[in-house]
Amino acid sequence: MFPALIPLIPFIGAFLLMLGWKRFDRIGVTVIGCGSIALAAIVAIIIAMQFATNGEQAIVQHAGNWLEAGGFKTGFDFRMDALSVVFVLVITIVGFLIHVYASGYMHDEPDYARFFACMNLFVGAMLTLVMADNLLLLYFGWEGVGLCSYLLIGFWYKDPANGYAARKAFIVTRVGDTAMAIALFMLFQYTGTLSIPGLLENSTHIWSANDGVITIIALLLLGGAVGKSAQLPLQTWLPDAMAGPTPVSALIHAATMVTAGVYLIARTHTLFELAPAAQTTTAVIGAITLVLAGFSALVQTDIKRVLAYSTVSQIGYMFLALGCGAWSAAVFHFVTHAFFKALLFMAAGAIIVALHHEQDMFKMGGLKKQLRSVYWVFLIGCASLAAIPFVTAGFYSKDQIIWLSWSAAGGHVGFWLAALLGALLTGMYTFRMFFLVFYGEEKTKVHHRPGGSMMIPLYVLAVLSTVAGFIELPHTMGHVTLFSNWLQPVLPAVSMLHESLAMEWTSQALSALLALGGIGLAYAWVVKHPKGMSDFLEMPAIMWLRGYWSRGWDFDELYNVLLVRPFVYLSRINKRDLIDTLYTGLAAFMEWCHNVLARTQSGLLRWYILGVVLGAVAILSVLIWRIYI
């Protein structure tokens, strides 16, 4: 089995759907769309098994040369190692489930084929990204997923707001990509290759730790990761990206694409280890982002925006883990997050469809009875997101991060506190959303209940959101390390600063308590004392704070004022091209001269004679001047 097949199959699916968009009927499109992903998933599983039995040897396939010029050489090299396998499996399996769900969700969409073509294209690009053996191919996937994200956010193209959100997503991530491109140039300049194993190998020889160049490179790579993963300061595009169809939000903006940054940093962890400053920056960005996004999520009214901010916040956790050197913890959280966030998005989608495309949580409520199945899966998702102890996957992955943010070599007590604050916020906003949607009085009628194609993926994910946590249990609870063992060949184990069982207990207990406390607060806020709370919330200062948070801490406004508006303004005023004015001005001056001189051509005979006389006077004057004076 060739690893290259895994991304190739979805690409072929996308290609077929693009060419045959007129010929296939709805069923044909569904079969190709979902089938290609299923096939990719099967191939991925087979290769993963092969890899597992093979031992630690990565499977690398050179599928062809790409370009070779003047000492620069790259090819289509695909790599399956422990890290890729994790990502590939998550992408194909969750991707498949979301495709199945989408076939139900998008059932009434006239542009059904286009949707699935883009989705398949996305999966292909994403798989390329995580399987690339060189950074250029990774960049190819990186930009490819950006394109698909753009296409799918703007899928309903008739609304200009969607187009705006789509372009914003593309352009903001492109800013990060630019940084990453420069990192590639620098890496090539110093290491002479863009092949990932090669440059990681070389980098340890070339640079010692804390070298200035490697720090810059790591920071630039971080810039790329930050753009794609919607971290501070490039996080603004993700909430707007919710303009796309819900399966898109689930697949691209929750489960897979936005975690590409995590993948990139994990993949190039050697570089970050050489640049502790960059690594600390990563952790700081993660910590700040997770808290800021948590506050923003707390005050949203749109259910999808809550989930979007929560995604930003959860990826913040992953970055925090990466920054602390807890590589496998970050990847572990990626896995569980992919499961429960996809679950939450799709469940939210089910609710939205049921309420006839109503996304405002304050117009929902009391849906517990109406949508009992959705209620349960949503509850599981929320529990996992809020990290309710022992039974949810989210608990194990997040707790590991919280603990390591203090105890790992790169950790700090400040990170730990931020992570704990994040845990409290997560509990609060998650269950605020949950209670608002399912409790209270019924405000909007349910139109129709989701069908099987939408519910089955939800059940599967609900199960995964629960059991996926058990592959990695902390010291205090059984100490299962299946996952980190698996990643051992690629990602080094975390080096600990503090190793105390008691401390770990305390941390876990604290985070669990905070999560539960958050839920309790949410319960009190939404269900128990809605009146009292609303009085509190109506206070002017609180109102202002709510607005400020719900606008995402006004980062949008900041960028508008600093970058977007000046650019647009400058280009507007310069629409006629100032330099052209120079040339047209020159032409106008010539024309003016022409007019002036033409006026001397009066046609009056005496005028001409006067000219002759003037000339004679002048010539004689010069003559006299030169000869006699």
Partner: protein, 484 residues
């Protein structure tokens, strides 16, 4: 001999299609198309023949005395660079004939005469190794192009045609001065009158003289390229030209400027070129950013695309003066891919104009509903223009930037920021034309068979260049670049 045949076929076909155009429009079109396809076939044959043997740099040489007294000879030669440029010329030329099949209905014979004559001039420019002959062909391109814009253009065609002519002619005269200067300096130093490129290559001269002669050549090529601040003829000419004219202008005429820099400025005046490199690279970067910004502001679709050319050709300038092989390879790539992608965008704009009779972006929107195929094609080329990996432009821009990074960090960073600007203006095209609300209910047909053939050919080429650029890179590798 085969080189002369390439030119003569076009020349003969030009006359023939004019004559035939009197009787039958179709005959004129077929003659033009067939001559270009024959040439394309010849070039393809040449390429296949030479794709493996990298024995000698010059694949073909043809030399015949013309005015021996003054050292002027009919000297043609072909290497990898010429071959690639010629392939692009004939490919885009054939598409230009196809695209004007329905668009041009007046003076059809004369139109094809002019079109083929321009292509003939361009072919000559890419082949000739005699500076006098080079100038001859250089000027020969202009006049038919002037007619193409001035006769079959849009509403402000005369203004645009005059502007185009004045700018390029002024540049051309500077080049003539420089050529004559070089000629006489060579005579003074070696006592031989010659216009031969190879003889002039190592003319000894003072640095002062070299600087001025280099400037003469460089400015002519910068005008053609076009680089800021000589770019202002381009938007007008592109906007007003008929579709075929825009395709030839963007796809080929601009490339003669880039070709001139690679072929003449750098090898003839290596020291002076190295001296001016930072300035030239800066101009390239300014072009990238300034052109992008102007493109973003435009409301006329063709004008927007025209400004993207300014932006893209900035990469050519940046790479050409980076003095390393990766960048040169990128420049050659960029010349080809820009020809394809921008040509395609102009073809789409032309097809759109044929349907809805406006180029104003404000009057478009939501056309995806009616024109999904055209929209998909536009999407591909818009993505190419913003440098999406997998399409040819990415390879080109990446190589240019990778190469120029070795030469100048700051300018490369600025140029890379240009990619963000490219994203902004490129996506604006899609949003304004194909997405957004559909105010006007245009009932227009999607691409027809002929247009589909054109677009598919272009898509295949741009994807091929994106995924497997190696044949092109291998071919252009064979050139003795000036590497510092």
């Amino acid at each position: 001999m085969i080189l002369l045949v390439l030119i003569l076929i076009l020349f003969g076909a030009a006359l023939l299609s004019w004559v035939a155009g009197v009787k039958s429009h179709a005959a004129s079109r077929w003659i033009a198309l067939c001559s270009l396809l024959v040439n394309l076939g010849i070039i393809a044959g040449v390429w296949i023949e030479h794709s493996h043997s990298s024995s000698s740099r010059w694949w073909y040489q043809f030399r015949m005395d013309w005015v021996p007294h003054f050292g002027i000879s009919l000297h043609l030669a072909m290497d990898g660079l010429s071959m690639l440029m010629l392939a692009l010329t004939f490919f885009l030329g054939a598409l230009a004939v196809l695209i004007s099949w329905k668009e041009i209905q007046t003076r059809v014979g004369f139109f094809h005469f002019n079109l083929l004559f321009v292509l003939c001039g361009i072919t000559g420019v890419f082949l000739t190794m005699d500076l006098f002959l080079f100038y001859f062909f250089w000027e020969m391109m202009l006049i038919p192009m002037y007619f193409l814009i001035g006769i079959w253009g849009h509403e402000h065609r005369e203004y645009a045609a005059n502007k185009f002519f004045l700018f390029t002619q002024a540049g051309g005269l500077l080049m003539l001065l420089a050529i004559l200067g070089l000629y006489f300096i060579h005579k003074a130093n070696t006592n031989v009158y010659t216009f031969n490129y190879f003889d002039l290559l190592n003319t000894p001269m003072t640095p002062f003289m070299e600087r001025w002669l280099m400037l003469g050549f460089l400015i002519a090529f910068l005008v053609k390229l076009p680089a800021v601040p000589f770019h202002t003829w381009l938007p007008d000419a592109h906007t007003e030209a008929p579709t075929a004219g825009s395709v030839v202008l963007a796809g080929l005429l601009l490339k003669t400027g880039a070709y001139g820099i690679l072929r003449f400025v750098l090898p003839l005046f290596p020291a002076a070129a190295a001296e001016i490199a930072p300035v030239a690279m800066l101009l390239g970067v300014i072009g990238i950013l300034y052109g992008g910004m102007l493109a973003y502001a435009q409301t006329d679709l063709k004008r927007l695309i025209a400004y993207t050319s300014v932006s893209h050709m900035g990469f050519v300038l940046l790479g050409a003066f980076a003095f390393n092989e990766i960048a040169y390879q990128g420049v050659v790539m960029q010349m080809i891919t820009h020809g394809i992608s921008t040509g395609a965008l102009f073809i789409i704009a032309g097809a759109l104009y044929e349907r809805i009779h406006t180029r104003n972006l404000r009057q478009m929107g939501g056309l995806w509903l009616r024109l999904p195929m055209m929209g998909s094609a536009a999407m591909i080329f818009v993505m190419a223009s913003l440098g999406l990996p997998g399409l040819g432009n990415f390879v080109a821009e990446f190589l240019v930037l990778l190469g120029s990074w070795q030469a100048n960090h700051v300018l490369t960073i600025l140029a890379t920021i240009g990619l963000v600007v490219a994203t902004a203006y490129s996506l604006r095209i899609m949003q304004k034309v194909f997405f957004g609300p559909c105010d006007r209910q245009y009932a227009v047909p999607d691409l027809n068979g002929r247009e589909l053939v054109i677009i598919i050919a272009l898509v295949i080429v741009i994807c091929w260049l994106g995924f497997h650029p190696q044949p092109v890179l291998n071919t252009s590798q064979n050139i003795d670049y000036v590497v510092r």
